[in-house]
Symmetry: C2
């Protein structure tokens, strides 16, 4: 699981900072999460192949999370894309994109499949054999979802050394892979778990931006390996957080602590701050394992 | 008159090139022409004060000329703008912007005044005491206008030295400024033109992008001081120009020659070319005074 931060600053693109967008690489998927203005240039800077992106998740329809999407969709067309593109986002996203394409007489030559969201309850919005994606309803000025990405636990794998040590013939290996115990010629039963190896731990990532402090989400993200939680403000501006439906660094850390997550990544810093180090310091008062997102930063989760 | 190129490449924003946008400073106005994705960051790089922009002209609704506008409008709001903003562009632009603001529940706290264009005839779309802006109907895949910016000829100014040499009393100076001749005490009539100075030459700028080769525009831009004309292709790809309704460098130069303009600036280069020098070379075969636009380049026209 690998996370590339394309942009993690609030409000408005500037010379050196970009609005929210990130790519989560998980089980051979490249999931694009949010798409602020400038995302396609950030993708190029990170040398991420556009063709590997097939699913785009948009948290909410504020410009700093969404205004890069029309251009990205157009660029996919110019690059000759023919694969379906799936877009998950709040109700209204299809109307907006469709209108822009219509006005430009620039219909895509690939299928755009919209998955519009309107439920205020968490729901599974994507699933395949290896991963699920669910919504995390957040509390912001417009309808907003975070997203929970979970790997599925893979099947146990054959422990060839163990099987051979019992003299088990190859023709039984598929049965072992299918979870069966084995009865040896001498009548002993060897339990499947002695003949197989634990699969790699299934990892999970929760993206929560933008949101006011919302402890309701704790059960949804309990024990995730990595939580990205917005931290727009420092304590000194904490009175702005509930007003604007954003969080402080400490509030993000409090969510991380209650949810007992493995690691907290902070982002969505207000551009009023000249340095982001204080976000980590304040969060560390509440929760130990805190990292700071920054544009272009790559996190590898092993 | 001063022109700042914010972006002048076709199709899609890339790490080092930006789609179309430029600022024309003329008679104390800062007119923004087109607004591709990334325009607001380019404005910051050029240190252009956002508050000085009150009129935005959009040629057509293809993304590379327009997708930076929703973000720019949002940023004006975040910057606390309260002055009216006038937006001139094809019919549909108001619906698009309004929908995006509605979906984000992000109405501006300043007035957005849309001037939607649909005429296929040239028309004056802005006028004050010092400048006029007219449309130049172009030939592209969607409804597209170029824009002609013309300074008005200022009034002749008083030549104090000349007036004093005739011993004319100050109380007559206003009459001179108003264009009157003066009768001296000795009965001689001094013509106004002897007592006044020529005003500075009224300059003009024509922006023509995107368009196929369209000689119909020649009478509209005859003798302009500066013509910016798109040149998407070189001769080697000339067969693509009519198909995509774009122009070659030579076609742009041919328009410049027929219109007898003072200077031709080329732009809107296809990103397939690694160097833009050939655009100038090919245009120079037809027309002598050719400059190449490039992102961040500033032209001062004295």
């Amino acid at each position: 699981m690998k996370l590339t931060i394309l942009g993690c600053y609030a409000a408005t693109p500037r010379t050196l900072t970009n609005p929210t967008s990130q790519v989560l690489e998980i089980k051979n998927h490249m999931f694009l999460i949010d798409c602020g203005e400038g995302t396609q240039v950030q993708l190029r800077k990170q040398k991420i192949r556009f063709s590997r992106i097939n699913h785009i998740f948009i948290s909410h329809l504020h410009g700093d999370h969404f205004f890069g999407l029309p251009g990205l969709i157009s660029t996919f067309r110019l690059l000759g894309r023919d694969k379906e593109m799936h877009i998950y986002g709040p109700k209204g996203i299809q109307e907006a994109i469709t209108l822009l394409l219509k006005l430009g007489n620039s219909w895509t030559n690939y299928n755009l499949v919209f998955h519009e969201l309107s439920s205020k309850q968490p729901e599974v919005i994507y699933e395949d054999s290896k991963v699920t994606v669910s919504t995390i309803p957040l509390d912001h000025r417009v309808y907003t979802n975070g997203f929970l990405f979970k790997e599925k636990l893979a099947a146990r794998t054959l422990n060839i050394d163990a099987a051979q040590s019992y003299g088990i013939d190859k023709c039984y290996f598929q049965n072992i892979k299918n979870g069966k115990d084995i009865v040896l010629d001498d009548g002993r039963t060897i339990l499947n778990k002695e003949l197989t190896l634990d699969p790699p731990k299934a990892k999970s990532y929760a993206f929560c931006s933008d949101t006011a402090y919302k402890p309701d989400i704790v059960p949804l993200i309990k024990h995730v390996d990595v939580l990205y939680h917005e931290a727009t403000f420092l304590d000194s501006q904490s009175e702005l957080a509930p007003k604007t439906k954003h969080s402080t660094a400490k509030e993000a850390a409090s969510i991380a602590k209650q949810a007992e997550v493995g690691e907290l990544i902070l982002g969505h810093y207000s551009t009023r701050y000249t340095s982001i180090e204080l976000f980590k310091e304040e969060a560390n008062e509440v929760f130990a394992n805190v990292s700071l997102a920054d544009d272009g930063k790559v996190f590898n989760f092993t």
